[in-house]
């Protein structure tokens, strides 16, 4: 593990972040946008774990932040999918362009 510098792990996680960003910009389907958000959250998790392991190996704060981010991501995915299913019921489509009114 010590042969790989910390910078390489950070480059991998930032590449993952910008791949998720590209997906968020180009996709117009709500489920695929949700997948892009999951990729972005995961890149943040990799950063937390890598910093914890390389810079402060005797502490655990990065692990706890990662666990909390995972829990929040699970809650966020559940709420997002409930909203998506509700939208599909009302608009018969989950394209973001189709959902152009909030209450009717």
């Amino acid at each position: 593990m010590s042969q790989v510098p910390l910078t390489h792990i950070l480059i991998v996680s930032s590449a993952l972040f910008f791949i998720g960003m590209y997906g968020l910009f180009t996709r117009r389907n709500l489920i695929t946008m949700l997948m892009s958000v999951e990729l972005i959250l995961n890149s943040a998790n990799i950063n937390f774990v890598a910093f914890n392991r390389y810079l402060y190996p005797e502490r655990l704060d990065g692990v706890f932040f990662t666990l909390f981010i995972v829990a929040i991501a699970a809650a966020e995915a559940a709420v997002a999918i409930a909203i998506i299913i509700n939208l599909y019921r009302n608009f018969k489509s989950i394209d973001v362009e189709a959902a152009d009114e909030m209450k009717f």
Partner: protein
């Protein structure tokens, strides 16, 4: 280059390649499966960093929970086998330019920044499950019991919110 470094670079290629296919594939179900591979690769990265508990949580919550939820919602809302419409060309070009420029900028900043050496004992993993559990529920100085309780309330609120949002509304009296 040692075997450990080779493992790291192979895992990185798997993670990034699967993520790239996941955000560009035209079939939404394949996109979800590639996302699954990417998340499993990230769990492999955690194993490589000797954070076994985080890797286990990643597999259980992401691969076992979130991806399965996404696949269920695809089955509920999408006609399977139909391609997604391709992205608008101008939008795709500018998104790729923006993401690429951001990536290059981040890499420049990373290459210029010198990180300090590790504080304390480097190489020995302390992230055992017992240590994590004891500190997570500790009320002492570095304990995390308050965020733990707050996040359990958040999960309860999210569960109630999901039920309320997805509940079928009663037909109006008309």
């Amino acid at each position: 280059m040692s075997a450990s470094a080779v493992v790291f670079y192979m895992l990185s290629v798997v993670v990034l390649g699967a993520a790239l296919v996941a955000v560009t594939s035209r079939k939404i179900f394949r996109s979800a499966i590639w996302l699954l591979f990417s998340l499993t690769g990230i769990a492999g990265l955690y194993f490589w960093l000797q954070m076994e508990f985080v890797a286990a949580v990643q597999i259980v919550v992401y691969v076992g929970g979130i991806v399965v939820l996404i696949i269920f919602s695809i089955f509920l809302t999408q006609q399977s086998g139909k391609d997604l419409p391709p992205p608008v060309r101008v939008r795709a070009v500018f998104s790729a330019l923006a993401a690429g420029a951001g990536f290059v900028l981040t890499c420049l900043m990373l290459s210029q920044h010198a990180f300090p050496a590790a504080v304390g004992n480097r190489g020995e993993a302390v992230a055992g499950v017992g240590t994590i559990g004891a500190q997570l529920l500790s009320t002492k100085e570095h304990g995390y019991v308050l965020p733990f309780e707050v996040i359990s309330v958040l999960l309860l609120a999210a569960m109630i919110g999901c039920i309320v949002i997805a509940m079928k509304t009663k037909p109006d009296n008309q």
